[in-house]
Amino acid sequence: MRGAFAAIAVVLALAGAARAVEPDEMLKNPVQEARAEAIGRQLRCPVCKTESIEESDADFTKDLRKLVREQVAAGKTDAQVLDYMHSRYGDFILLKPPFKPSTWVLWLAPPVILVLGGIFAFFMTRRQPATAEPTPLTAAEKAEVEALK
């Protein structure tokens, strides 16, 4: 049983590191390759929407990865590469969208809901449990109880 859990943990850990990058796409310089990967992980795949471009197998995304690597190799900074992608695809391409009026709900909803839920839970648990005295039995009920004895 413990072995099964360990196996699942290993599989999940590997799944987290999934990469679609093929060896021939990688830059020779490992420092640059690491930077390109870090940039790619911040860019959302426009074809598959839920993956970063480093994880996506789509043919189109392969060319986006290639472009990121070319720009890194050409000496562009991380910010310059991200800016270029942002200028072409807008906020959509950034897995971490900027904080601005159109994304306020996106960024603020979780903490606001947490705080409101916390306040609600605080007052609910503080409220005294109902300890009203039970109403005494009526004469008819008493008679019924007596009859059962």
Binding site: V47, D59, F60, D63, L67, R88, Y89, G90
Partner: protein, 179 residues
């Protein structure tokens, strides 16, 4: 007052339903990525022609008149679906510049022979760099560029007759009148 608080979750729920149902009922496709390039000048580029064709396409060709730029490829199935619509636009004397995305020239030539050639010129974008510069994320994609060389419209889906009648032709007429 205290009892009225119970209506709050219901109101919140109704709000959420309205928020999500509105785009759904208005037919807004969430898979379409809004382009930040609308109203911006076309990116600078030069693409070589297909073999046997006299000229390719460059950003310099995209000023002076209202034009359509269409990204297509022989491997792209929806492009085949919109091919007749492009011929319709051609017959309406609307110039269409073609960007042939990530294609083998021989396949592209075969595709044009089979489905007709609606383009005034075609540039080969073999490594997709120009497509990416246009913010494309697939094919077909269609742009309308005004006489000043600014991108005014983008559609990342095959063009239908309905699009021609209700979107493309009215917009082109409007942009032509802007001159």
């Amino acid at each position: 007052m205290h009892r009225l608080l119970f209506i709050v979750p219901v109101l919140v729920f109704v709000g959420i339903v309205i928020y999500f149902a509105t785009p759904l009922l208005r037919g807004i496709d969430p898979s379409v990525i809004p382009s930040p390039l609308i109203d911006k000048p076309v990116p600078a580029f030069t693409l070589p022609p297909l073999p046997g064709y006299p000229k390719g396409v460059s950003s310099a060709d995209l000023t002076g008149q209202v034009q359509i730029v269409n990204i297509f490829a022989s491997w792209c199935i929806p492009c085949r679906a919109e091919a007749p619509a492009l011929m319709t636009l051609k017959n309406m004397n609307i110039p269409i510049q073609g960007i042939n995305q990530k294609d083998k020239p021989a396949n592209a030539l075969e595709y044009l022979k089979e489905l007709g050639d609606p383009y005034v010129a075609i540039g080969m974008d073999i490594d997709r760099k120009v497509s990416i510069d246009w913010g494309a994320y697939g094919a077909p994609e269609t742009f309308i560029v005004d006489a000043k060389g600014r991108i005014r419209f983008k559609q990342a889906a095959p063009i239908t007759q309905d699009d021609i009648d209700n979107t493309i032709v009215p917009l082109i007429n409007k942009l032509r009148a802007e001159k």
